[in-house]
């Protein structure tokens, strides 16, 4: 049974459809991330789950209990949804101590004092903040405030934990650390979590599943690998990194099984400008269909100009026009007939600009989507 279920949920702000008819089911204990650029409706969706916004249509259920149904006018206020939430600003109440902040969800529910002390201490220990219990909240650093916010969200043992871009106010290093701690904690507690972010790396590193949203709609739901490697649309593909998108026409299509039931793939033979080869796709295509072939820069390798392509490989010839050294990697731009191809390769390799080379891609890593 899904722990959080959204059915045909919409939310309008005047003319703007902030959230447009979305369906989503989050399983018990699952970590799901709503990912998308700002204004895509991810935060609004989260706030509707929280009960901070009311959906104009559709229904929301948490833990099997209907909490909001636009059709019947049912709306359970946020405080009765048994949630924990971490806000982007942390929303640490400045007039309370760390202890009081964390104790709040318990004390407003009239949990006995002794139990509060126990549970708050436990929650603070969980985020390694027990030493700071008596500090006034404003005297904390950003990372500490973040931990307090998490402890507060967890202390009541919520049915669902909601996180609204919780890491966006932290510096890069702390963000990674906090993210990892966070994920470990979530796994340990097995708590259903919905996480909102615009940061794709964060989303992929933390989530069981990623929900890619754009302009109020869900574009794709899948594991991080699925949405990364097998994007459903150009938008989804473009949201993760800067993939190379190459126009082509389908010449043949046949299904193959990758061993998982209901997750069949298709192998397409495609023809592009001055190139041809095979790639994979989520669905069958007809002969003559226009597709875009998605190739991740890190999946491309450069070989000597005159090397011969092996079977199952795609290749383009071009000239290296730009190179940026990034420490572990080197980002190259290769001008081919069809496009300016982005290639990531190990930094150790010397690649002087001006050289010509052949870009080689394993056809398993070439993914076709509707043009």
């Amino acid at each position: 049974m899904p722990n959080v279920a959204l059915q045909a949920v919409s939310r309008h702000f005047a003319e703007l459809k902030a959230v447009d008819n979305i369906d989503l089911a989050v399983s018990d204990g699952e970590f799901v991330t709503l990912l998308g650029p700002s204004g895509c409706g991810k935060t609004t969706t989260l706030r509707m789950i929280a009960g901070l916004e009311q959906n104009d249509s559709g229904s929301i259920a948490i833990g099997g209990r209907l909490v909001s149904d636009a059709a019947t006018g049912l709306f359970v206020p946020p405080e009765q949804r048994k949630l924990g939430m971490v806000f982007q600003s942390y929303a640490i109440w400045p007039h309370m101590t760390v202890f009081d902040n964390v104790a709040y969800p318990l004390s407003v529910r009239h949990v006995p004092k002794r139990e509060i002390a126990q549970r708050v201490t436990a929650a603070l220990r969980l985020v390694e903040m027990e030493r700071y219990a008596d500090r006034p909240a404003p005297a904390l650093s950003g990372g500490q405030q973040q931990r307090v916010a998490i402890a507060r969200a967890l202390v009541f043992e919520p049915e669902v934990l909601l996180l609204d871009e919780p890491l966006s106010n932290l510096d890069a290093r702390l963000r990674t650390v906090m993210g990892e701690e966070f994920r470990a904690l979530q796994r340990r507690l097995g708590i259903t979590t919905i996480y909102v972010t615009h940061d794709q790396e964060e989303a992929m590193a933390l989530s069981d599943r990623v929900v890619v949203m754009q302009r109020g709609r869900i574009h794709q739901v899948g594991t991080p690998e699925q949405v990364y490697r097998r994007p459903a649309s150009r938008d989804v593909a473009a949201f993760f990194g800067t993939p190379n998108l190459i126009e082509a026409i389908v010449t043949a299509s046949r299904p193959i099984s990758n061993g998982e039931a209901g997750n069949d793939e298709h192998v397409l033979a495609v023809q592009g400008t001055n190139w041809r080869g095979q790639c994979r796709a989520a669905a069958a295509f007809g002969e003559g269909d226009k597709v875009l072939v998605v190739i991740r820069p890190e999946d491309a390798t450069l070989i000597a100009d005159d090397a011969v392509l092996a079977d199952g490989q795609l290749g383009w010839r071009g000239r290296i026009v730009d190179g940026v050294f990034r420490g572990p990697r080197r980002s190259l731009a290769v001008q081919t007939d069809v496009l300016r191809f982005r290639v990531e390769c190990p930094a150790m390799r010397e690649m002087p600009t001006g050289d010509t080379a052949t870009i080689v891609v394993d056809s398993q890593n070439a993914w076709a989507i509707h043009a």
Binding site: P78, G84, I92, W93, P94, R187, R188
Partner: protein, 593 residues
């Protein structure tokens, strides 16, 4: 996917108290907590009804009075004579005069108040805690007393200031004459400066320093930052204070009647006073029409303010924690210190000193050793009416101020932090009483309460006074609290709701808890407003329920001004006590930051 999650969960059987404790308390409470929520329309209706009764009802009585040839209860006809009678050149002059006086005094007070508030809240000026108490003192002194004191200090003939001036300069020129426009404005400023100060000082304190720092980092000078960030962020508070003060200036009576009337300076209120009390047949139609004309004008101001502030965010208290920037002034801090002391000396030390001194002499302003006496203190002490009235006033003040702050806090919440249907109406209703001059509104309450069905036991009881006081105090309460609310980030509130606190709990534990310095200020303002209120009190009190302001009027009119000053001093002591406690509480909070 789902099965994997379940497996993981079964792995995670850690003996963690987090997982062990039950959720029963919430389950048990859920049903009860939902009741008020489902009752939102009912709650709004209730709020609307209450406000309509408190403010609309007396207004409707007055409107009837302005459109009817006779006051309620006497046969007459409906006509527009009251309004037609306003359209004279003299009345237009009076209107212009009133606006001019009020505008000048408000602008001057605003500038002074902002300077003082900045000094107290944001600089390292010595003794600023004490200064804060001292600066606000003049507001709490009954105007009749400071007027008397200033009449003694600043009259052109034998005023103390002029005598000193003549003695110093050796001429017989006159330095000041309080019986003038300047005198009227100066006397008003003594009240409006602390009033505005009280409004803005906490806004200065509750400012996330990052907002200012980022301006400095963007290349703005300290001065530019002050105007374009600090001041701009405080717009809801400052404009509210400005408008409240401006309106109060238009409704000000004591200053004009004391210092204006003798030199033929007329304002709306003195004109209304004349219409009601200074002719054989009180012209209630004319007076109420005048009141409504003034009200229409003030209403325009409110519209202007809401336009100005529309769709802008003034959040300065965020969930990230803050402590205000204190600017180190170096040697300049003694200059700022001197400014505060000068203000205190001019508005408090001079007039109050005069009162204090006078209270030990047989007569005001006659300092002869053989007239030294404690009789006035004895007279007040032995006056049983005074003690009854003090008891009543304290009861009304404490319950009234508390009730007003509760109502004001709710109204402010609904109008500033929700999108509920009807919130604009609620806001308007809460404003109404402020826009009607007190002496007209008092009549509205009298008419309204007296004509209620006899089964409703309000008229002639303390309830009548209490309800009138709540209505009169609500506008201030709403302004003070909504200014504070607007500075609190919405996250802090939403976070509370998500973590299990209901609407009331959130209001109390987060909003009020964060805005409580503003609540405390509002409470004190309302409390002392109640202590001073006369216009409605004298029409609504009954034998046995008389209040301090009525007793003071009795003393005043029976030529016992010295006894009044004893009570005035008592009120000053009370203010000091209140403010001291309040600031101590604030300080304990700030020192923990």
């Amino acid at each position: 996917m789902g099965s994997a999650a379940l497996e993981r969960r079964s792995d995670a059987v850690t003996p963690d108290p987090l997982m062990g404790a039950g959720v029963r308390p919430a389950e048990a409470r859920a049903r009860w907590a939902r009741l008020p929520y489902l009752g939102r329309p009912a709650g709004i209706t209730l709020l609307l009804l209450l406000l309509a009764f408190l403010s609309l009802y007396p207004m409707v009585m007055l409107l009837y009075g302005s459109l009817h040839s006779t006051p309620p209860g006497i046969a007459g006809t409906f006509n527009l004579d009251g309004y037609a009678g306003l359209l004279t050149v003299q009345n237009l002059q009076i209107l212009a005069n009133t606006i001019g006086i009020s505008l000048i005094k408000t602008v001057l007070s605003m500038a002074l108040a902002i300077l003082l508030a900045w000094i107290v809240a944001r600089t390292d000026t010595p003794a600023r805690g004490t200064l804060e108490v001292l600066i606000t003192l003049p507001f709490f002194i009954p105007p009749i007393l400071t007027a008397t004191a200033w009449a003694m200090l600043g009259n052109a003939q034998v005023g103390t200031i002029n005598l000193a001036w003549r003695w110093i300069t050796g001429t017989d020129s006159t330095l000041v004459d309080v019986y003038s426009y300047g005198g009227v404005i100066w006397h008003m400023m003594q009240y409006s400066t602390p009033f505005i100060f009280l409004f803005v000082v906490d806004a200065f304190r509750a400012m996330d320093p990052a907002l200012e720092e980022s301006s400095r980092m963007s290349g703005a000078t300290r001065w530019q930052t002050f105007w374009r960030v600090t001041f701009a962020l405080m717009l809801p508070v400052t404009t509210s204070a400005f408008i409240l003060s401006f309106i109060r200036g238009m409704e000000g009576f004591e200053s004009a009647v004391f210092f204006g009337t003798p030199v033929n300076i007329k304002v709306i209120t003195t004109q209304i006073y004349d219409l009601i009390t200074q002719q054989a047949q009180p012209d209630y139609q004319g007076a109420t029409s005048f009141g409504f004309a003034a009200m229409a004008l003030m209403f325009l101001l409110l519209v202007l303010q809401s336009r100005l502030l529309r769709r802008r965010s003034f959040t300065t208290v965020t969930g990230k924690g803050y402590s205000p920037n204190v600017i180190r002034l170096g040697g300049l801090r003694w200059v700022t210190f001197a400014i505060c002391i000068a203000f205190f000396a001019a508005t408090v030390a001079l007039p109050i000193g005069q009162l204090l001194l006078s209270s030990f002499f047989q007569f005001f302003g006659f300092y002869q050793l053989d007239m030294l006496t404690l009789d006035h203190y004895r007279a007040v002490w032995a006056n049983d009416e005074f003690w009854t009235a003090l008891g009543n006033t304290m009861l009304l003040g404490v319950t009234g101020a508390t009730a007003t702050m509760v109502l004001g806090g709710i109204v402010a919440y609904v109008t500033t932090r929700t999108l509920w249907f009807g919130r604009r109406l609620i806001n308007l209703l809460a404003w109404l009483p402020w826009m009607m001059p007190g002496m007209v509104l008092g009549i509205g309450f009298l008419w309204g309460f007296a004509t209620l069905p006899h089964a409703i036991p309000i008229y002639g009881t303390l309830w009548a006074l209490l309800l009138a006081y709540v209505a009169l105090g609500t506008p201030v309460a709403v302004r003070v609290t909504s200014g504070a609310y607007q500075q609190i980030a919405r996250d802090l509130e939403e976070c509370s709701r998500v973590h299990g606190a209901g609407w009331w709990q959130t209001l109390g534990r987060v909003l009020v808890a964060l805005a409580w310095p503003a609540f405390a200020v509002g409470w004190v303002l309302v409390f002392f407003g109640i202590m001073r209120e006369l216009s409605a009190s004298i029409l609504l009190y009954s034998p046995g329920t008389q209040v301090l302001s009525v007793v003071m009027l009795k003393m005043w009119t029976s030529n016992r001004a010295e006894d009044v000053s004893v009570i005035g001093l008592l009120m000053v002591v009370m203010v000091l006590l209140f403010r001291w406690i309040q600031l101590r509480l604030i300080k304990t909070r700030i020192s923990t930051l």
